[in-house]
Symmetry: C2
Subunit: 227 residues, 2 copies
């Protein structure tokens, strides 16, 4: 039973950073961060583990490349008929929100890169993607940094929290059941320790993710003009 069956088919194309990254994303989507190993990856690419190291320095770089590819795709919206800055920002926000819903591993990876410094390509891409439209919003220039940061952090946090819903919610029914469970769990919390969470448990049951998400964006945008 020596598995010569291992590699599915003879490789036709040469290996490349792009092909490797693509396969890594597929593996991550299929089974999360634990599913991405050099062995699984090399089998999928019909090669040996060592070959990958010719194109990628290590696992961290691989994860970074996979994250970067997905984020770049999410931000590369058609950008058709440019709407108002507000609409543009909502579009960017929803694009990222959707990307995390489709790739739940993304949330942790972006947070990791964020905590590795503001010169990493992923945080930069996102910051620029949002900031570009903040400039057009008519905000005084010395608020640009604050506004773009607030929007970026809110978007990434909400997306992370939503990633869990996405894991469960295949259908609308599952979705409703899931919300019921969360709501019920919240209502069972200790009244002394969690009065607030209990109080909003009903809202949690009724809320629509995207609507809720966009309401937060609007809240932040409203803050700009209030000052």
């Amino acid at each position: 039973m020596v598995a010569r069956t291992g590699r599915a088919q003879r490789r036709t194309e040469a290996l490349s950073r792009e092909r490797i990254t693509e396969a890594a994303v597929e593996l991550l989507d299929a089974s999360g961060e634990g599913g991405l190993t050099f062995r699984a990856l090399s089998e999928r690419l019909a090669t040996g583990p060592g070959a990958i190291y010719w194109h990628v320095a290590n696992k961290g770089e691989l994860l970074e490349a996979a994250t970067d590819a997905v984020v770049a795709a999410a931000l590369a919206e058609p950008a058709e008929a440019a709407g108002s800055p507000r609409d543009e920002i909502r579009a960017v926000a929803l694009g990222l929100f959707t990307a995390v819903a489709e790739h739940p591993w993304l949330a942790t990876q972006v947070s990791l890169q964020l905590s590795h410094g503001p010169t990493k390509s992923v945080p930069l891409r996102i910051f620029e993607g949002i900031g570009r439209h903040v400039g057009a919003l008519g905000v005084p220039e010395d608020s640009w940094f604050t506004v773009a940061s607030a929007l970026m952090h809110y978007i990434l946090g909400s997306a992370a929290q939503n990633a869990s819903n996405a894991r469960v919610a295949g259908s609308v029914v599952d979705r409703a059941e899931f919300l019921d469970e969360v709501s019920a769990a919240w209502e069972k919390l200790d009244p002394d320790d969690y009065p607030f969470t209990r109080a909003v448990a009903r809202q949690a049951r009724e809320h629509d993710d995207r609507e809720q998400f966009l309401a937060g964006i609007d809240l932040i945008l409203a803050g700009i003009h209030a000052r």
Copy 2:
């Protein structure tokens, strides 16, 4: 050279979940997530790897317990002479911000828990800690959920981004040098791809982390009253 020197001293206290969690936090602080292994942990506790499994189910649970302990401590402020809701929120925010600065591994762990569902204790603690004061803010009840979420996500995102600064900045001089480097890196970006980031590069150099952070909180709070 068989290392019977391994365990530093005979254990005096019995093992417990608390002692294990405490040692885990120390290891994480000293060398990040990579530094937390069952072998290193058991050596520090003067026991064998297997012993830990009597108190903790697996590594995930260990990480969860460590995160929970640190977050709980950060939220357990003296709560002396209660200030305005606004001040209370700023205090909670700064407490979390500081905790992440002191424990850079915290950012990724909280994000991980966030993406594992809204019934995990860490997200719940934070949500409640903030929400409690949102209720006192005079906001209509149907905005509570949105406002508390927006604040929580902004806080966690900012803290994550700041974790990287913390890793570098021992002294004020290091800090200034670091900001100069970031700013310089941003100014070297492609003008076509990163016009916005380049435009705020100067602001990045001059900004004060905490001030910037609190400005974002104020922005969100301002949004509430603008509606």
